[in-house]
Every structure is written in C-alpha cells, then in structure tokens.
C-alpha cells in the first residue's frame, strides 16, 4: 500500500466523522429534556436557578453557535467539559477507556477462538452431530439478549456456584500497579500471578456474554465460507495429489475460507461497541459503555458526542485494519 493510498483512506475519515458529529449533535439536541433541568430535577429548583445553570453549561447559546464551537474545539483535541462530572470530557473518557478496551479484546478473542475452530469443524463434518449442535448453538447465541444471558450466567456461576466474581474488573487486594490500565496486562508486567488470576476470573463472564453473539455470527460465516471453499477445484486437486485431510484444511482451505470471517469480524466490532453498554452495566464493568449510557440518560451532550466520535473512529480504523489483513491473506487483492 502506497503512502498516497493510506492518506486517501485517512481522508475518507473526514466526511464520516463530520457526518457522525452532525447526526449525534442534532439527535441529542432534538431529544426532549434539558441537562440543566435534569441535573436539578427532583430538587425543586427555581426557574432562575435552572437558567443560571444552563448559562453555566453554555446551553443558552444558539444551536449553530454551539455546534461550530464544538467542532472548532474538537479539532484541537478539546471536547469541552462534562456537564455532570464538571471535568474535561477527555479526562473522564480516558479514565474509563482501558476497561472497555480490555473487555472488547477479551470478547473478540473469545469469539474468534470459539467460532473459527467450530465453524471449520462444522463445515468439514457437515450434517454431523457437531455441525447440528454448532448451528443450534449459533442460533441461540445470536438470539439470546445480552442482558438476560449475562444475568443468567451471573446467577449460575457467581451466585449459586460461586466460582466467579459478580462484578468489577479486579478486587482491591489484587490490584497491580497501574501502568496501562489493562488489568491483565498490568498483572503480567508486575509479574503477579494472583492479580492475573483475579483479573481473568473477573473477565470470564462479561467477555463470554459480550463475545457470544459475535462468536455465533462468525461461526456461521466461517462454516458457510469453508463449505464453499471445500467444493473448489483446487481442493479436489489437492486431494487428488494425495495430501492429508488435515493438511488440505489447514494449509489450503482455511486461508481462503477465513477471508469473509475477517470482514465480518471487523464489521461486528460495531455491535461489540454497542454490546459493551449492556454488558458493562450488567457486570458493573468500569468501562466507557456504561458511562455513555448514563450520559445519554442525563443528556450529557459533550460526553456523548466525544464518545460517539471515538466509537466512529474505532470502527473505521478496525475496518481499515481488516482491509490490510485482507491483502496479506489474499495477495490477489490490491488496495
């Protein structure tokens, strides 16, 4: 990929982000409810007090002026003050971002580790018991609502069996010194086995809950794609050459069979980011998703705008990386 093409791809980001900004800004502004009134709701504030707070929050300025000011400041990396935390939005988001990254990566790892082997096996032993089980499992995985499945897991493994913790990212006693903010990584950097086990134990339920729908979709995609590939002439040719079954699948079929999986996995990051909001709430995970949900409820405009922008950038970047990976997996594809 040439630097020019790379620049072009980065250039594509501009209209996407601008569009996202406009849409989020308008949607938040059109939603009924006023942050100042919500902040003072149930507190019997006088209209004068509400007006003063609106002024303090900068909400008494016209919509257009606020938009231009937001974009202008955002370009300089300043996303303004969180209306409710009354601290810079960037600071508040950065405090919560590592936990979300950790959970999302764990969920994605779970999804890939489960879906690819299962998908391949289901395709290879098509119509067999494993295939049927996997297909039914995938259907369940896609259709079970995350909040319900999460609570079910919680009651089973945390309340009744007491194998795993109910909430949070790590216990206080096990907390490693903060370097990256990712508990698993920090535990390893600090060479603390107890911390690592504690962090992993906290990760298991939320990561499975978050990764399950993605695993189900990827399993189906991998299976379908592998079935397609296994019918190709070059596979027949490889078989005719007398190559072993395992070798054919691992070396010849899998590489091509995984191409759609990569694309779909990248696209599914979007739903992973959305799923975070539910899973973090259910498991008391100290991440960004929960913060965004809470912020939407109270119309914390600046925080929601910045977070959605961050989501949009993440989504575009992940898809870009998937495209890059595509060229590695399939050299015929040129960007």
């Amino acid at each position: 990929m040439t630097p020019v093409l790379l620049l072009q791809r980065v250039g594509h980001l501009v209209p996407v982000l601008l569009g996202v900004t406009v849409i989020v800004f308008l949607m938040m502004s059109l939603t009924p409810g006023d942050p100042a009134e919500i902040m003072l709701a149930n507190q019997n504030a006088t209209p004068a007090q509400v007006a003063m707070l609106r002024h303090d929050m900068g909400l008494d300025r016209p919509l257009m002026e606020r938009f231009v000011s937001f974009v202008g400041h955002a370009l300089q990396g300043d996303f303004g003050q969180s209306l409710f935390h009354r601290r810079p939005v960037a600071t508040v988001i950065m405090e919560r971002l590592p936990a979300t990254i950790e959970l999302s990566v764990a969920a994605m790892a779970f999804a890939l580790l489960v879906s690819i082997p299962l998908g391949v096996m289901a395709a290879v032993y098509r119509g067999g018991v494993l295939d049927r089980l996997a297909t039914v499992g995938a259907l369940l995985g896609v259709s079970l609502p995350g909040f319900w499945f999460g609570i079910l897991m919680l009651i089973g493994f945390a309340v009744n069996l007491r194998w795993l913790p109910v909430s949070g990212a790590i216990d206080f006693a096990a907390q490693p010194p903060g370097i990256t903010g990712l508990m698993v990584v920090d535990s390893m950097l600090a060479l603390r086995g107890d911390s690592l086990m504690n962090a992993l134990a906290h990760l298991v339920l939320p990561a499975i809950t978050l990764g399950l729908p993605m695993a189900a979709i990827l399993m189906r995609v991998t299976r379908a794609s592998m079935l397609e590939v296994l019918r190709q002439d070059y596979i027949t040719f490889a078989e005719a050459k007398g190559l072993g079954r395992g070798r054919i699948i691992a070396l010849h079929a899998l590489k091509n069979g995984l191409l759609p999986t990569v694309t779909v996995a990248a696209m599914e990051t979007g739903s992973l980011l959305g799923g975070n909001m539910v899973v973090e709430t259910v498991f008391g995970w100290p991440g960004l998703g929960r913060l965004v949900v809470e912020s939407i409820f109270v119309r914390n405009y600046p925080l929601v705008q910045a977070a959605v922008l961050l989501y949009a950038v993440t989504y575009v970047v992940v898809n870009f990386l998937a495209d890059l990976l595509y060229t590695v997996l399939n050299p015929r594809v040129r960007m």
């Binding site: 019997n44 489960v114 206080f172 134990a201």
Partner: protein
Amino acid sequence: MRLKPLLILAAAAAGLYFAPVSAAELRIGFTLDPLTLDPANHRSRETESVLRTMYNGLVAHDPSMKLVPELIESWTWIDPQTMEAKIRPGVRFHSGETMTADDIVFTFTRLLADGAIAGQTSPRKGLLGPTREVVKLNDSTVRFLLTEPWPVLPAMLTFQEVVSKSFTEKAGAGGIATTEDGTGPFKLVQWRRGDSLVLERAASYFGGGPGIPKAGNACIERTIIKIIPENASRVAALLAGDVHIINELPAHDIRTVEANPNTAVMAVNGTRSFFVALNTTKKPFDDVRVRQAANHALNRKLMIDKLLAGRATKLDGVMSPAAFGHNPNLPEYAFDPKRAKDLLTAAGYPNGIDVTLDADGPQKETAEAIAALLTQAGIRTKVAIGEGSQVRTRWAINGKKEGDMWITSWGNGSLDPTDIFEPTLQTGGRGNSAFYSNPKVDALLAAGGRETDATKRAAFYQDAEALIHADAPWIFLWLPQDLYGVSRRLTGWSPAASGWLNLRDVCVQ
C-alpha cells in the same frame, strides 16, 4: 460450545481469586459512581451519599432525622436575617490540619460566589437560598448573613460539606474533584472510576456531634463501595455474599432477599410525597366536594400493597411524618366509594363525571390503577401518558391550566415544610400544579417562613396542613420507602431518609 476448558479455568481461578476477606472490611453495592469528589460541584444525591462518608457538614440528621449540629456546636438566630454558628473545637481534617472558621468561610464563599470553582459556579448555590455571605466573627464563630428571613437555613446546611481551605487551594479544582481532605469517619484510599471507592477508617475522626452517639465502636477498618448499576446484578452480589449492603433494592426482589437465610431487607421512609394534583381552577375539581370525593375513592392501602409491595407510607397530608412541622392529627380519607358518590351528587354530579388523568411513562401503572378505582366511584377517568417535560409544561403555574388531574410528586430532602409547602401550595408557587390558592394558607406559610422560634414555626405549618387536608387540592397518595438489602452479618447500621450511608458504627460479624 467449548465450555469445558473455560469451566476448568474458572474453577482454577476461583481457588486463587477469592482473597481472604477479613471481618474488618465492609462492602457496599451502590448504584452510581460519584460524579465528582468535590462537595461543591454536583447536584447528585448519590454523589452526596458517598461524599458524606468522608466529609461532614455544619448540620446533620440524627437517626430520627432531627437536625443536630455536626461541625458546629450550636446555632442561634441573632435576628431573622442573621444566624450565628459556634464552631466545634478540635475537629481535624484527614490531612491532620485543624478545621477553623476560615475553612468554613472559604467553603461557603466557594459555594456562593459566581465562577468560584475555576470559572464554574457551584450548582449547589441555589440550595443556600437568600444566603448572601458567611463571615468570620472570631476564631470560634461564623455568621450567616441573609438578604431576607429564611428559617430553613439550618436544615439546608445539611446539604453542604466543609472543605479545607489550604487543601482546596493547593489541589485546585481538578484535585478536589478526584481526591479528598474531609473531616468524616472514613478517608479515601483510592477511587477506581466506575468500579469502586476504597475507604479506610480515619483515625483523626472527631466522633460526631451531640445527639449523634460518640463513635468509637466502629469495627470496620476498610469500606469498599462497589458500583453496580444494574439492579439484578446488585441483588446477585448481595445474595452471593460479595457485598453487605445494597441500595435501591427493587420491590420485586424483596421476597428473594428475605427468603435467603443470609440476607434481609431494611427500609426507611423516603422524603418524596406522591400525589394527584387536581386542577382547582376549572370544573369539576373547582368544587371541594368533588376533590374530597376523589380522595375517598382510592383504596390506598390496597394500591400500596399491590403496586409498591407494601413498601410505602399512606399520606393524608402534604409531607412525611418525619418532617418538621408535620401535623400528626389529620383525619383519614377512608376508602369509601359510597361516600364519594354522595359527595359527587351533592356537588351536582349525580351521574358522575368524565375526567383525564395525566401521567408520564414511569407512573403509567399507578395512574391506571388510580383511574380504575376512581371510575368505580363515579369519577370516570381516562389516563393520558405523556413525555415527562411535556406533561410538566402542561401543568406549569404560568401555563394554560387545561388539565384535570396529574399524578406527580415533590421531594422534600431537607424534611422542612418550607421546601414543599411554599412551592406547591402557596398561591402562584412554582410547583403549584393544583393552582391552589387559599389566603389563610398563604398567611400561615408567610408567617412560618419568617418565624425563627421552632415551636411557633411548627404550629403555623400544622395549621396550614390541616387547612390543606380539608381543601384537598390533591388526592393524597403516599411516601415510598427507600429499600436496602443487607447481609445478616451486618450490625450497627440502618438506612437514613437522607440517603447518607452513615457508616460510623457499622460492624460485620
């Protein structure tokens, strides 16, 4: 699904991760992360609950919600616009510095002056009403100067916590938002944003005020407030023994928590009065008999049992029985559909009336139950559900006054009558959704709003509440309880109507 390896991993992890928990550690499952640790820069009840474990105010509540001095020894009214407070000697901040009059003056200047918090104005300024300035008289005395008489000041002081001048100046607006230097029973070890707050017992704690038994028997060394926003997960954490106290226990989980041998439910009367505002300016509710009929039409006990799992106190007046100036002798509006029909007939509606009950989404179920009961008594009621802010606008005091009835509520966190009577029942009050106007009530409220003698002041509000009861501008409903789930290993703790966690005397067996 390849669950087996995971289960093995989980089992292996379980052995390792359960750190031994000493009895000296208390864990609380709490709904929301504090927005900030700056006591002056938020308007959130949950944030205040957490802050009160680390900070104190000049005035606090005793367990029966009576006002008691906390960081002061006493308050006296010099005149209706000047209140003097004697500072408690020997109170120390967690940093070890002694609290002085300068700290108190600094705290209130920061609350009152525009732009005092790095350019931001404290959103808690409004809670200080007509307070103009707080000045130091000498090392042990400060004075509150008001622009008009405001006897509710001591009650409103419970909403403000005292910060250290030197700490706040040194830490800056960013520092005080994330660290603390309070005078409270616990000090902050670490705030893990969105996850938990770790607190430890502050050795320097002065022990509380008169009327608050002296601390010293608190046997927990560390408190961890874990943030678990989802109801089902918070309950699960309690049942799993992971936490010892949870707040906001959902009513439908009461039985689960009670059925578990290790857990129990604790409840306290809240401070929010629920009522149906009746439009007193137009037919049919301009007639007091129709309004009384509506009050007799509801079986409130049944509704509380069915809708709120029995966890609410029936009201026949305006405010909580725990509030200052509450009238304990109000007669009851008994459930009596026949009496309701008779009153309607007497008012000239022998065939009943057709009305609409406005409600917002969260009140839908209650509104429908009310409508059903009213209809049985001849007040044929349709429910109209609207979006919160739209419904509020429809019932604003300066609005068109077109509605018939509206189910709403009014919080009275200070438990002082000023806070609920004046806005909701004084002529033209900003929350007077019944558009109620009674010159006698207005006169009593005005007198109560000036009187600094507590006994005389209480009498004014008791008289006003009796008049309002008879005039029935509202269908009086109930005061819901705040529900908590607790471990049976917990002693020395009870929930407070203020929502404060009050951890000084807690023990975990």
